[in-house]
């Protein structure tokens, strides 16, 4: 690696910013360790671009996920100064001249460097039956589409904006404390389908909601909604589901199934 070239480059640019990355290489490290880098600073540079600069010019072994670079694919989540962010949506200018520390998303196991194991999160998303369960599934194509008014769509639109980035799980201490909690994004997605006028699967999904590990692990910390890059507001979804679960509980008392 051409360290000299790097030095030469640094001499040209006047501003540098320090980036510290929590590294973890499973084949050789027992535990993660911080590694510092200095890169040229540009106000329009995102954290993701900073990582790409490091990978291209300083250390090609640094691992991280990304794809769209525009807050759509949800793959670039990481902790920036201990706060869950999308690397492509966070900018160096909001930290400069302070040092920026990067770490893999909290509450997830680290696969390597900034890459986490998402399996549990994906499992939870699948578990809540994230698809429309129509009242009768033999509706013929010739009968046309399922129609919906804008008002009916408004009831779930917000909860359907999730890009599965996992930032909310990283922000949720209840998930951190107990991994059996269904968690913010999955519950928001569940609310999204239960609130859809075309769906008739509420009863099935309420069984998940009603459990201790369903909505009842939530203590309304509310940080999930703060960190969500898409304005999904999982905390609100969970709160509304708590109300639904309570109604369901009352009904269940008189009509046990």
């Amino acid at each position: 690696m051409s360290t000299q070239a790097t030095h030469a480059q640094q001499a040209v640019v006047d501003k540098v910013i320090e980036i510290e990355i929590l590294r973890y290489r499973p084949e050789q490290d027992e535990k993660p360790f911080p590694q510092g880098f200095e890169i040229p600073y540009h106000p329009d540079m995102s954290i993701l671009e900073a990582l790409q600069y490091i990978k291209d010019h300083l250390d090609s072994s640094v691992s991280f996920r990304w794809s769209c670079r525009m807050a759509i694919c949800g793959s670039c989540g990481l902790m920036v100064n201990n706060i869950p962010k999308l690397g492509c949506k966070a900018f160096l200018r909001d930290y400069y001249p302070q040092k920026v520390t990067l770490e893999a998303l909290a509450n997830f196991p680290i696969e390597r460097d900034l890459v986490v194991v998402m399996d549990d999160f994906i499992k939870k998303l699948e578990e809540i039956k994230p698809y429309i369960i129509p009242e009768r599934d033999e509706k013929c194509l010739s009968e046309g589409t399922y129609q919906q008014t804008p008002e009916q769509m408004e009831k779930y639109a917000k909860f359907s904006m999730c890009i599965n980035c996992g930032l909310c799980y990283s922000a949720c201490p209840q998930y951190g404390l107990d991994k059996s909690f269904t968690g913010p994004a999955a519950l928001a997605l569940l609310a999204r389908y239960n609130r859809d006028s075309r769906d008739a699967g509420s009863a099935e999904r309420m069984k998940i909601v009603n459990q201790e590990q369903g909505v009842w692990s939530c203590t309304f910390v509310g940080y999930c909604s703060v960190v969500c890059p898409k304005g999904v507001d999982p905390a609100a979804a969970i709160q509304l589901l708590k109300v639904e679960s309570s109604k369901d509980y009352l009904i269940g008392m008189f009509k046990p199934d």
Binding site: P32, Y223, Q239
Partner: protein
């Protein structure tokens, strides 16, 4: 052979000190300790009330102790903190739509504060009747 060896980070019991948002959450939850104590003082007052005039007056004069005054001042601040946090989260539990648009959260919060002011003034008037 797989070299996979996912690393699990421990969550320490002081996690809520590491982020100001979590700290505020813990203060919100911790407010309940002080409100519990206040409720116990009131429960004690009911007990003294049931014992007769002398006992009740002793309870009243105990409340005049400087320690009691300072304590109640603290409880007042903490109770107000609870009120603020409670109101600020209220919009999340509201599922109202007007002409197909969700009700603005700011309106809901404002509504809570207006009600709070009215209730407080009402109580102050009632007690002085």
């Amino acid at each position: 052979m797989s070299k996979r060896k996912p690393y699990r980070r421990e969550m320490n019991n002081d996690w809520w000190l590491k982020n100001i948002f979590y700290s505020k959450y813990m203060i919100r939850e911790g407010s309940s300790i002080f409100i519990t104590l206040y409720s116990l003082i009131l429960a004690w007052g009911v007990f003294r009330l049931s014992q007769g005039e002398e006992a009740f007056n002793a309870w009243l004069s105990a409340l005049q102790h400087p320690v009691s005054i300072v304590f109640h001042l603290l409880v007042l601040l903490i109770a107000l903190y609870h009120t603020i946090t409670w109101f600020s989260l209220a919009p999340k539990a509201v599922d109202l739509y007007i002409k197909g648009k969700p009700l603005d959260g700011k309106l809901i919060v404002a509504g809570h504060y207006i009600t709070f002011t009215i209730v407080t003034i009402f109580c102050l008037i009632v007690i002085m009747l």
